[in-house]
Amino acid sequence: MNIPNLIEAEFKLVYGEIFRRRSALVSMIIYPYLFAGFTLFFGYTIGSPGLFMERVGVEPVVFMITASNMVMSIINTVDDVLWRPLHDAYVGTLPYIIASPINKLELFIIIPVPRLLLLLITGFTSIVPIYVLHYGLNGVVLALTVISLTTFGALTMSTLGIIIAGLVHTVGESWRILNVVRPLLMILVGAYFPRALMPFAAYITSMFIPSSHVVESIHRILLGDIGDVYLLLALAATLALVYAPGGSRSLLYWEKKKVSEGVKTS
């Protein structure tokens, strides 16, 4: 299988969809601000920046713009994997993908890469200006660190995303389940709601989500506490690898289920 060729094809597909749909491009740039603005608005109506600083330890604007960028990147990676089978079924390309000789695990790992890169570029339009305003020129270095870690965090989610996709799409009207899974992941990843403040059950659950460890490491960096960061990153990578065989099996199960029911061709 020609992986570079496949990556190039996915880039063309995703960039064709985004750059030829201006609304999609504009929304990618303004969403981090919208998310951050929305959460700050709610935050300010029920508390004060001082209280936030006291509880979380980071300036709320910095925290929220970082969280928004992280959530967008991480959730988009999962979204690409979760929603792609539905999109392909809708546009009618799914039978051609299933009937192609491609290794489906390779394809699903590659699927989120183009959009993720684009989202990271939007880090320069969201995180960098706010960090520079807040930290001065040092903010550029910090922003680059956060963007790099966010990339890593997003990539660690692909195998868990594949497991969920493979299982969810074997049932009818899977989009309803995805609409529940998505916000749960958004919360449990801990970007907006730091893991340390979560209820015990949510805290334990979030431990099984690879990118939640990366998110926590970013929070610690923002707090200036980098002691356990490497451990957290290693934990995220380990979890991603542990989920990989499950992802492969899950996709195989999905494909078998689809074929046993008959892939819709019209």
Binding site: M1, N5, Y96, I97, I98, A99, S100, P101, V259
Partner: protein, 329 residues
């Protein structure tokens, strides 16, 4: 010629939930295929003809590894479609619904590049093959290099869909109603190409269609499928010969006189279809119409009638289709 597709006793049932009231539903079993057998050789186009729900698309889907059969066996290019689905996928080109199956925000070429990557073609081979197919299907003249797919007409999509089926230069092609809804020039172009692919490049083509005219033009052999069973098979000519009673003498005569008495004296079955402006349109049924043709013509002339036209009519493939799918005409 060797067999590219071998189907043995292939059966498939669907369980469909049917609502019978607001709160109740029951499961209905539909027998899509009831144990069909056929082969398709390299270098030939085999048409799969049948009414809606006959089992054509089910057959194509099983051969394309998109559906599991309940029983029976199917081999494509020597590989079992269940046990060796991966190998089968390397050796088939498929064309399913024409109007769907592409990404709207990509150009025709970009769509082909995407699917070429899925088929594992490297960059050089992909470019060469796409260039060749775009020229072959005259997509370059239609703007496939710069037009987004959402701007494509149905005819362009059909050509692009055929181009995709040919991307990997697979030896077996499974084409499900490839000309459905197309304008005549596009349909003709596709028919010509399909014949060339089989006869010049030696590919095995399984081709489903509703269009009898098209089946007769394109297919070397035809399988008539009805209610999940093969009702008849053979070349278009062989199929027509299987319903000889449909061969008739169609004769139009002008003049006054008792037409019925003349026909009865010949001892043939007949029907007088119409009578306008003293022209009688008559259809005479006979096992071997050519044996009585001369007698009929001679008798009418001798009785003072003018022969306006007279010919032996062969049944059309449509007659054959209706005969085998409905049991009568």
């Amino acid at each position: 010629m060797s067999s590219a597709i071998i189907v043995r006793n292939l059966a498939k049932r669907y369980r469909v939930k049917k609502r019978i009231s607001l709160l109740r539903s029951h499961t209905e079993v539909i027998e899509a295929l009831r144990g069909i057998d056929f082969t398709v050789n390299y270098g030939e186009v085999v048409g799969l003809l049948g009414p809606n729900g006959a089992g054509k698309t089910t057959t194509i889907k099983i051969l394309a590894t998109l559906l599991l059969p309940d029983s029976g066996e199917a081999y494509v290019a020597g590989y079992n479609v269940i046990k060796n689905a991966g190998e089968v996928r390397k050796r088939i080109g498929i064309m399913l619904t024409v109007e769907k199956g592409f990404y709207g925000k990509l150009t025709g070429r970009e769509n082909l590049e995407y699917f070429a990557a899925l088929y594992g073609l490297d960059r050089v081979r992909s470019k060469d093959r796409i260039d060749y197919l775009i020229r072959l299907l005259e997509l370059d003249k239609l703007g496939a290099d710069y037009k987004l797919l959402e701007e494509f007409s149905l005819g362009m999509k059909a050509r692009l869909s055929l181009a995709r089926a040919l991307l990997s230069d697979a030896p077996v092609l499974l084409l499900d109603e490839p000309t459905l809804g197309l304008d005549p020039p596009s349909a003709r172009r596709i028919r010509e190409l399909v014949r060339d692919l089989a006869h010049k490049e030696g590919k095995a083509v399984l081709y489903t269609t509703h269009n009898m005219f098209e089946a007769e033009l394109v297919c070397d052999r035809i399988l008539l499928i009805n209610k999940g069973m093969i009702a008849a098979w053979g070349t278009p000519q062989e199929l027509k010969m299987r319903i000889p009673k449909l061969r008739v003498i169609a004769i139009n005569i002008k003049g006054e006189g008792r037409v019925d008495r003349i026909l009865e004296s010949l001892g043939v079955k007949y029907e007088i279809k119409s009578e306008e402006n003293s022209i009688n349109s008559i259809r005479i049924h006979a096992e071997r119409p050519e044996d009585v043709f001369n007698d009929v013509v001679r008798k009418f002339i001798a009785s003072g009638f003018e022969i306006v036209s007279a010919r032996i009519e062969e049944p059309t493939l449509e007659d054959v289709f209706i005969y085998f799918s409905e049991g009568s005409l």
